[in-house]
């Protein structure tokens, strides 16, 4: 059936709520408002205010309460409206959710799922356009996923809820409107492993989240020029599936990592370093990185577009690696 990414996420939440009475959703405006991005529209009516809980503007407390509820036997899905506000809850995520199992010597696992919107591209300016995935991917104890396809948007939530440990899901803001076909009934999508989304011989482009569609578009255009691109979708940002990446790059001998995060200290750096560590001798050229410009996101459209990697930028960067 034809479905949007937004609907895929909503269906995944609905299914989870139907499947397990311990599951509930809480966050800012997930209920009466219908979700800031309309993802949760209709859920309040279907499941009632006990299971679709509008919270006050208290990111620290409601994320912490989600952790507590998880410890107490529930399976909360906590929505942080966007990653931009998640800093207000970061202490709870890092110092409690991610550490509790270890600090308690294995006694207390925290089966919480935290969803948040990430990314720029909608002219929301410096405070509303962050891509902070690498901050989360840096933290042991967390699992971090970035569904970039409809199937992953639809299928990863069930796996995340089945996981005994905290899982953070990043949904890129520009993906919600993407439409495509999904076969029903759905199967769960695993929350481990990268995926080769396109095979090619000349270069591997590694991307995730909002950058995947652009990487695929760039690959199409490059193939018209005789450059055969393989595209790896990271899918899971922690733990990274190094094996899939290395296997690909060992074949193509060249790689470009595309990442909407700021370049310095980026996830792209991690992927790049791992490629060098793993297949240095197989590389024909240094691994390239294409990241967002190191600037708080400007509002003006032309500046924002220039700050975030576009298809044309990917093409240029990939060519540079191939020719490098």
């Amino acid at each position: 059936m034809s479905i949007t990414y937004r609907e895929a996420v909503r269906e995944a939440i609905r299914e989870a709520l139907h499947a397990d009475p311990r599951v509930f959703l809480m966050g800012e405006d997930v209920g009466r408002y219908g979700g800031c991005y309309a993802v949760t529209k209709g859920l309040l009516e279907e499941f009632g205010p006990e299971r679709i809980r509008d919270t006050p503007l208290s990111e620290g407390a409601f994320v912490g309460a989600g952790i507590g509820a998880a410890l107490g036997g529930m399976r909360p899905i906590v929505e942080i409206m966007t990653v931009n506000f998640s800093m207000l809850a970061l202490d709870q995520v890092v110092n409690t959710a991610a550490t509790l199992l270890h600090m308690s010597g294995g006694q207390f696992n925290v089966p919480i799922v935290i969803r948040m919107v990430t990314g720029g591209g909608r002219q929301l300016a410096a405070q509303h356009s962050h891509s902070l995935e690498n901050w989360y991917a840096h933290v042991p104890g967390l699992k971090v996923v970035a569904p970039a396809t409809l199937a992953d948007a639809r299928g990863m939530l069930a796996s995340a809820l089945a996981d005994p440990d905290p899982v953070v899901i990043f949904e890129h803001v520009l993906l919600y409107g993407e439409t495509g076909e999904l076969a029903a009934p759905m199967t769960a999508a695993p929350i481990h492993g990268a995926a080769v989304r396109r095979t090619g011989r000349d270069i591997t482009i590694v991307a995730h989240g909002g950058m995947l569609t652009r990487a695929l578009a760039a690959a199409e255009r490059l193939s018209a020029d005789g450059i055969d691109v393989e595209v790896v979708d990271l899918r899971v940002l922690r733990p990274l599936d190094t094996a899939t990446i290395l296997e690909s790059v060992a074949r193509t001998r060249r790689a470009l990592v595309v990442d909407e995060g700021w370049r310095s200290g980026s996830l792209a750096a991690e992927v790049s370093a791992r490629i060098m560590e793993g297949v240095f001798r197989e590389l024909d050229a240094p691994v390239g990185r294409l990241c967002s410009a190191e600037v708080p996101m400007p509002y003006a459209r032309q500046l924002e577009q220039a700050a975030i990697p576009q298809v044309a930028d990917i093409i240029t960067a990939a060519r540079a690696v191939v020719e490098g």
Binding site: L57, E59, L88, Q123, L124, A293, A300, L303
Partner: protein, 333 residues
Amino acid sequence: MSTPAAAAAPPALTADEGRLLYRGMLRIRRFEEKSAELYTQEKIRGFLHLYIGEEAVAVGVMDTLRPDDAVVATYREHGHALARDVPAGPVMAEMFGKVEGCSRGRGGSMHIFDAQRRFYGGNAIVGGGLPLAVGLALAEQMQGSSRIAVCFFGEGAMAEGEFHESMNLAALWNLPVLFCCENNLYAMGTALGRSQSETDLALRAASYQVPAWAVDGMDVVAVREAAQRAVDAVRGGGGPYFLELLTYRFRAHSMFDAELYREKSEVEEWKRRDPIPAFASRLEAAGLLSAADRETVGAEVEAEIEAAVAFAEAGTIEPVEELTRFVYSEAAP
């Protein structure tokens, strides 16, 4: 909660004062109506939060400030900027993303700044502006100045930890800061009663040992009077002060809001208390504003908005080569 000011009582204002307040509100109203229009035309992008219905708050409070006081607002701040005398042209140009915008097009609707008028934005993290205002007040106190800091925020922000920490710090250190809570009853779709366990917000604020009053935010004279009392107290060294300004947003939260969470009838009810015609009628009844005055003001405002739009339209698109400017300070040229 205060009772609405008796609409019949003549305001204790001169005709000039009355006209200025009326004009100030109308300017915001028309500016924002125009902005909404321009948004549908995609001249303005990103998020756009309208202040329509709440004009009496910004206009009433700002009228009591000195030009050298510091003002901190939220993402719903066109009204505050205009009331603070930031010229309409640069505000509109900002929303057009032009170099002539008051933030050079880097900020957009949510990030209006004006150093000359000590207008510190334009903060789009709910509650994020409060500590800033506390710090600005701290600077004034440490420098022994008589300036104060004023911050505006919604009732939804009162649930944030930063509200709590800021109130406590300001009270502890007796800082010259005026907290203006714009209680428009909703934070996006979340009604006050679902966001605060104590819905008498002035009472909540008073628990920090901060003097706190609720004011009818639809009555620009009541707002101005209360603000004047508060500003005098703060400037006089009395420490922080809190005003709850009871108001209502007539429009959607932003341009992406289906308003599923409130009844049309409630909105209509509040629109009957529209601060602008109500104030005009009072002025007229008191003989402080004639129909002709009203028309003149209306025409002036229209002209100003038109000029602002023209200014914005004529503005410059910044070349992308400039992208990474203003990440760090540039050496003075």
